[in-house]
Symmetry: C2
Subunit: 463 residues, 2 copies
Amino acid sequence: MNLDNQQILYLQIYEKIKHDIIENKYAEHEKLPSIRNLAKKLEVNNITIVKAYDILEKDRYVYKKRGSGVYINNLNAKKNVLEEEILMETFKYGKLEVEGEINFANSNPNGNYFPITKFKDCINYVIDRDQEKIFAYEDPKGYSGLRNIISKHLKVEEIISDPEDIQIISGAQQGIDLITKSLIHLGDSVIIENPSYSGAITSFKRGGAKIIDVPLLGDGMDLKVLKNILSKKKISYLYLMTNFHNPTGISYSKKKKLKLLELAKKHDFYIIEDDSSSDLYYKDKPFSLKSMDIDERVIYIKSYSRIFMPGLRLGFLIAPKEKLKYISFTKYHTDISTPGLIQRAFEHYLSSDSWETHTKKLRSIYKKKFEISYNLLKRIEHLKLFAVPQGGLYFWVKVDKVTSEALFLKALQKKVGILPGSIFKLNEKSDGWVRLCFADVEIDDIKKGLKILKESIEELYNL
Amino acid sequence: MNLDNQQILYLQIYEKIKHDIIENKYAEHEKLPSIRNLAKKLEVNNITIVKAYDILEKDRYVYKKRGSGVYINNLNAKKNVLEEEILMETFKYGKLEVEGEINFANSNPNGNYFPITKFKDCINYVIDRDQEKIFAYEDPKGYSGLRNIISKHLKVEEIISDPEDIQIISGAQQGIDLITKSLIHLGDSVIIENPSYSGAITSFKRGGAKIIDVPLLGDGMDLKVLKNILSKKKISYLYLMTNFHNPTGISYSKKKKLKLLELAKKHDFYIIEDDSSSDLYYKDKPFSLKSMDIDERVIYIKSYSRIFMPGLRLGFLIAPKEKLKYISFTKYHTDISTPGLIQRAFEHYLSSDSWETHTKKLRSIYKKKFEISYNLLKRIEHLKLFAVPQGGLYFWVKVDKVTSEALFLKALQKKVGILPGSIFKLNEKSDGWVRLCFADVEIDDIKKGLKILKESIEELYNL
């Protein structure tokens, strides 16, 4: 500890210990040295240590036990300032999604694809049909008509679900929030893929979970690493995206899906399957983990943001009965219910032919965009694809010897938006990966944009 | 400890310790007796204590520190089974709100008062005006047009707020959830009124707060009790409803409002002001605490559920800038944003004359209902009013020598719904108080319903 500059001593000591706590150099509930011992060691007054410990306690890095000493607090439970700052940073990137003239960062469908007129008709139809019911509190679990039609649609996907097992949610992010609040307890271990969706990681972390990451391979999680963790540690939940994964675009092989279910049963953990893209297949409709879930180990979250319209904030989740009970209860204590207007209008839309027409159209648009992008990306020097996606909206690419941030900034200068891969990594390492998404970029702009990306890479190499 | 019945010993010990933990007979992080000592004291094998401690740990009532011993866990952080069960009970009462032919339990406005046609026009207008923008992600903070018009309206109520200080929320319950997740830390002390809104208490508790209740008098919290608590304990937040309080109907005196602000400044805590009823005044428009908040000590939550239509799930909150930053961030990680369709349609409605017409109409309806109810209630023997409300939707009444539950069940037999007061009490004591709400009861039914209530009380007295 360097104590010889002008800064007040106790603040220096506070900063040093705080830094070490954040860097995990202490264990939870570890005892700090006694005031006398530390004062002696650092050759300062006792009162200096008392002051340092006081602000550590005030900021909740430590707690005191009368007559016993000072102990390290559980940091996961503590929303400390530093963590908030990191999170704010992620948020900033989220906001950046709207910048750049050609935007490969934004993963929301282009507004031109929204079936606005048809949906407006649905709204008017259900207002006339349901009158005041549409503006009264809805069942916290969700409008029964919508749960019924969803249950019917799910049969085609080989998911057998009672409408009573379905919880309507205001988008996938709310599903993750509800699961965190109702099922994940302080100190629970949650496994995530690396890379994964930052919104989920943030939510689990803030809920007090310990996050453990497992590297993702071309056909799913690295099971060797996973098994090794499972042999050593009690895991509560595993969060994944089985089809057209965000950000990598990969899908799990059937073998890995079955193996995961087997492991969940054997090691008594539950799998949170986040599905926002499986409707967007280029060739064959993929199956979800949920459709193979005979032992009820999967909590399935479905979002309509990618396949329909994100601003509606609509999705659903299916969970084993004894878990759904808590989730529905938490939904009530979170926002009572998802607006009836939106649920009922969407129910009407789902019941009509429009749904099939709309999803077919979106699939053909994205498939075309994918093919054009893929053919251009293959030809960019120094650029490596993680995998060739079979559906969805993303390419996960790496540029050797260039950091994600350098490429991100270079492209942004040229008005092309991409997302640096560090956003999807638990430890935010900048290792050259970036996510390209063609949801909001039209074909001409894909061509223009990837040309600019190519130029950006060349410029970085010629520096 | 009674160890002489047939139950397996270690389960008995487990149950006894668990019971004592729940009853707060241990302090947080208190060390339990060593295995050897407890075994000796209870005259059982060491292995019996080991087993008991093991399931206590599994259920997270305690944690072990290697080489040191077994310690009591922080119970607020733990969502233990018992607590969940109590909460489910509250939830059940919430659901009961829809039962009974004459329903004084339900606090939602009657659907007949909803301005459906006008609002339908607003929806169609904004879809045509904003097109795809209305179905894309909205700003997490809320649609700027809506924040602008709200800020303008607030000037009339003497609340000065920059639109940037306003966060749109999906109803008051979400406001409470967001505040809990972003501002309330594990172990923070939160003061509530007794009685208070159970949805808020549940949310704070689940967020890890310690709840301290202060009795409510006819003009607001008992300041003597409050000051006594403040002199002994660091308080983080105080949650209250200043005008037409739920369930008591009381309003804070101006003097108490000013005193609370002074105390907040002096003792460095923040006040969460939950306002769902202040538009429903019978005579004079009341002022909020926020309108007097020169030191920025108030987080103001406004719900449109009572004054407009609850199923829209719409409200807003105002908080000091450095707090709002975290709240907006949490909103993003909770459900991204409140649906644009609803925000934009409501903005259009708020900008028109319809708002003034609608609120005036509601006020006159409720005033009339209040007067009729009040005159009938006064004449019911054994029934005592807590206060005479000057606005809002509630009467808080007590029947001497009869429990809330007995009256609740008796009235329910006769198809009249009321809410037992225990729902609003922290310790769920059944002391004869009940809440009567006339939001969803028409005048003829008020007369019929209160006659039945009178008969119910008489029957209970003649038992």
